[in-house]
């Protein structure tokens, strides 16, 4: 059973008391318990079963403007006492930093509505295996599916409490169920792998296993017998699964730390246009049942919906307390990063997007981390399909796509097919002007 709130609260408050007794002027504690159960299935049989039961504690102590932190998986009282003692000793040696402090009291979360983040349902090993078996069977219906990397089902239940010496103490339970099916297709000497994935807060919202298996198979088969293409400048359409990844360097580049440290290619762009007029980017932590939802951030600051980009203009940064102070701005509850981050829908349908050009490249897989947020330079490995006259023609492999994020952001066209499948989400999107390197 997952540890209850009282248990976690007691540890947290004991730690705060102890730290203050030893000379801390302020203190923050996060105690969490997470139980995760995974079953892996492969070739008609269970492959692995794994149960994790983990407690974690993180303590930050302040002596005026000096700060240190410790963390541990061992909540034995004797161990915590010696760790807090060590943390205080470290704090004394650490140089002062004028921006170190807990958040302003008036920013803390108070009462909150239920965001429906916890499902009590517990899925037995048998039920997990049954789900995975159905998924695999559906995938293997096509003869070209010859092997599997395995399918996996995980249930995670989590509880935590965040408390600090200003009297804040809150926490809540959450759950996540996820299933994946990774399949290998073979034909004419070509071997390709692909997967399908589903992740939800509530078990009943997961995709049915048959859909998961079919989708994984369909994807792997579509990749068979790929061709290379010539290097050229060509419009690129990003499938939703990869389109969302363009929001990662964006979020990195508009974090308060990147702005304060001067390491963002967007550093001088607050309240300026960085996208075309049609683009809006939202970060909303308060969506019911959503994967990225949270009531407060990792410092206890209340989180609410923020429009980051409005009609192409950068309106807000991702602010925590520390870097916010350096920038002379108030935290907007983004210590720990974005929540449910997404591009709002565009106006074109998926079909219309495919038909914009007589020839385009549809990318459904990216490999490598090729975004440099200091310069905006972008270059990653990719694979996908060639689109001719609005129709998919053949799979493309072993290419790179490259550009500079400043230009790429300006050349984005969005479709209107947004769904909330991941933490960060995007409709299908097209970028014109990027360079493909091939043979």
């Amino acid at each position: 059973m997952i540890k209850d709130k009282k248990f976690l609260e007691k540890i947290a408050s004991n730690c705060i008391d102890k730290a203050k007794k030893l000379g801390a002027t302020d203190c923050e504690v996060i105690v969490s318990n997470s139980i995760s159960e995974t079953a892996n299935f492969r070739n008609k049989n269970i492959d692995e079963s794994k149960r994790s039961d983990g407690i974690g504690i993180e303590i930050s102590t302040y002596i005026q403007k000096k700060k240190s932190n410790i963390s541990s998986s061992n909540i034995n009282e004797g161990n915590l006492d010696s760790l807090i003692t060590r943390c205080i000793e470290m704090t004394k040696v650490t140089p002062e930093d004028e921006y170190n402090s807990l958040p302003d009291k008036d920013l803390f979360a108070t009462k909150h509505k239920d965001l429906e983040l916890y499902d009590e349902t517990s899925i037995s090993n048998e039920k997990k295996i049954d789900y995975l078996k159905q998924a695999e069977e559906s995938a293997f219906q096509d003869k070209r599916i010859t092997n599997t990397e395995g399918s996996s089902f995980t249930q995670v239940k989590d509880n935590f409490v965040l408390a600090n010496s200003l009297g804040f103490s809150m926490g809540y339970q959450s759950s996540i169920y996820s299933a994946s099916c990774e399949i290998i297709a073979k034909s004419n000497g070509s071997m390709e792998r692909d997967y399908e994935y589903t992740q939800k807060r509530f078990f009943s919202d997961l995709k049915p296993p048959g859909t998961l298996g079919n989708k994984a198979a369909e994807r792997a088969i579509k990749k068979l017998n790929p061709k290379k293409i010539k290097s050229e400048k060509i419009p690129i359409i990003f499938e939703k699964r990869v389109a969302k990844s363009l929001l990662d360097p964006f979020a990195d580049a508009i974090s308060a730390s990147s702005f304060a440290r001067g390491t963002s290619f967007l550093k001088d762009k607050l309240n300026k246009n960085i996208f075309s007029k049609d683009i809006n980017i939202i970060d909303d932590p308060l969506i019911s049942k959503a994967l990225g939802s949270q009531i407060f951030d990792s410092e206890g600051v209340k989180s609410s919906k923020v429009t980051l980009v409005k009609e192409g203009s950068l309106e807000n940064l991702l602010l925590d307390t520390y870097y916010g102070k350096i920038l002379k701005m108030k935290s907007n509850g983004r210590s720990g990063g974005t929540t449910n981050l997404y591009f709002e829908n565009g106006t074109k349908s998926f079909k219309e997007l495919l038909n914009t050009h007589t020839k385009a490249l549809y990318i459904n897989e990216l490999i490598g981390r090729g975004a440099n947020i200091i310069t905006g330079d972008y270059s990653v490995g990719a694979s996908g399909m060639l689109i001719e006259n609005g129709e998919f023609s053949y799979p493309i492999n072993e290419i790179t796509i490259a550009g500079n994020l400043s230009e790429m952001f300006n050349n984005i066209t969005l479709a209107n097919d947004l769904e909330f499948s991941y933490v960060t989400n995007s409709p299908t999107l097209m970028i014109e002007g990027m360079v493909v390197a091939g043979k």
Binding site: S49, K50, I184, M191, R193, S231, G262, N372, T375, A437
Partner: protein
């Protein structure tokens, strides 16, 4: 002192008994106990940003029968918790019966000393070096606008308890020192990064102001990038420098030779044993036995001593990288590569220090032979799709070669290639083999472990460079 049974109601005999009862009808398995301590110290933006210390204590109980594995871990070392884990394992494996394989070899060799690097140097002294790093770089070059420097120290104590009471122990120190510099000229910003580390004390790596060399290297890289021009796009010749670019072998070849992918026949190499996969002058080795190296281990996380495994010898595929489970199922021997990130993870076949041995060419010869291509000196991260064999990695320092001469530096670009193909496209192997400075971390199935890589300079005849200049 008995670290693991000190503050608990569980004594060693009881633990042995539970382990034996759980595993005696299984093919394999063990109780893995871990007590680790680590520190992270970060200087950034002119200030000490982080001083942090972590301890982690726990166990992982694993049972394997046939090709099925059951695993349960907890950070509560107690009678109740271990029994619960045992029951969990039993419910997964109840219908299977195995014969426990007791055979596991022993080693008297120790590849690193029992030091705790965190305690060996006072916090104040470490903070002072970080401050000196910042001062040194900013004073040396006024284009320096941002410096990040960090120390990561770790001390890991592990014990493996097997059915019948056999135990294996190891104490593993590890440190890493890292420097990143951002420079700015006429509004243009670029970055350089360099580091060092391994299984010795901080002072072993930093004495005699050795840290200055790390700073100089990071700064050089940043300055080179300041003058870089857009990289070319398309297929061309690439000369790789020695040392860290061996990450290419790690991604392109190493992962594909790991036992699990070959047992499952999902690797592009699974049906190529004893066949020619590269030119005759190519030999690739995985060696976990090099003293004090970041990727080295006295014993792996299943208790097997690590070894020097020749993977590809004179172009012929000779061995896979094995842990106990995959070796048993493939009728091979564990090569001592069963590794895990921590007690929270099951072991799997992982690389240690993977490198190509020397050939006979000089780097100069290689560059001279190229009409149009790239000379790649340093890389950021890489990634591979085992099944299709496609791999990528990002250049962080690279130059254009024109008519046999290095002409100018080019912007970071991704290189993409095909693992099994790439070795057949190597046309010259250098005589300047070097190991990386001790900075590699490898990720697989959500687990990261420290690794080493290395290679001599190498000329690849055809690889796609993902630049923007057509």
């Amino acid at each position: 002192m008995d670290t693991f049974f000190k503050h608990t109601d569980l004594n060693r005999n009881e633990a042995e008994q539970i382990v034996s009862e759980t595993l005696n009808k299984c093919d394999d398995g063990e109780l893995y106990l871990e007590n680790s301590k680590s520190e992270l110290l970060v200087l950034d933006d002119n200030k000490i940003k982080t001083t942090s210390y972590n301890t982690s204590l726990g166990y992982g109980l694993r049972a394997v029968t046939g090709d099925v594995t059951a695993y349960s871990h907890s950070n509560e070392i107690s009678k109740h918790s271990l029994k619960e884990s045992s029951n969990n394992l039993f419910s997964t494996l109840k219908s299977k019966k195995g014969t426990y394989n007791h055979s596991i070899s022993r080693t008297n060799v120790k590849l690193y000393s029992d030091i705790n690097p965190i305690e060996a140097k006072p916090l104040k002294a470490k903070i002072d070096i970080l401050k000196k790093v910042d001062e040194y770089l900013r004073k040396k070059e006024n284009k320096v606008k941002q410096v990040t420097a960090s120390f990561l120290g770790r001390h890991e104590e592990i014990e493996i308890l097997r059915c019948g009471g056999e135990t294996f122990k190891d104490i593993r120190p590890l440190i890493r020192f890292n420097v990143s510099v951002m420079v700015e000229k006429n509004g243009r910003k670029e970055m350089g990064t360099f580091g060092t580390g391994g299984r010795m004390s901080y002072d072993d790596y930093l004495k005699d102001e050795n840290w200055k060399k790390i700073c100089d290297e990071a700064l050089k890289q940043a300055q080179v990038n300041l003058d870089s021009k857009p990289a070319p796009a398309g297929e061309m010749k690439v000369v790789l420098g020695p040392g860290w670019p061996g990450i290419l072998l790690h991604e392109a070849i190493g992962h594909g030779l790991e036992g699990d992918f070959n047992r499952k026949k999902t690797s592009a190499f699974h049906n190529l044993m004893n066949q020619k996969v590269a030119r005759e002058d190519i030999t690739i080795v995985d060696d976990g036995t090099i003293a004090n190296r970041r990727g080295s281990l006295t014993i792996d996380d299943e208790g097997t001593p690590t070894s020097r495994t020749v993977l590809i010898e004179n172009g012929i595929l000779k061995n896979y990288i094995q842990d106990r489970l995959n070796a048993r199922l493939m009728n091979m021997k564990s090569t001592g590569n069963g590794r895990r990130e921590s007690f929270e993870h099951m072991p799997m076949p992982r690389m240690t220090n993977t490198f190509m041995v020397n050939g006979r060419h000089t780097q100069e010869e290689m560059i001279k032979s190229v009409d149009k291509g790239i000379f790649a000196v340093s890389f950021g991260g890489g990634q591979v799709d085992i099944t299709s064999g496609k791999f990528v990695f990002n250049c962080t320092e690279a130059y254009q070669i024109e008519n046999g001469k290095i002409t100018f530096s080019v912007k970071g670009a991704t290189l993409i290639g095909n693992g099994p193909d790439i070795l057949t496209k190597v046309s010259m192997v250098g005589n300047d083999m070097k190991l990386d400075p001790g900075i590699g971390t490898c990720g697989k199935n959500g687990q990261t472990v420290p690794v080493g890589v290395g290679q001599p300079s190498m000329l690849i005849d055809q690889i796609i460079v993902g630049g923007t200049k057509l």
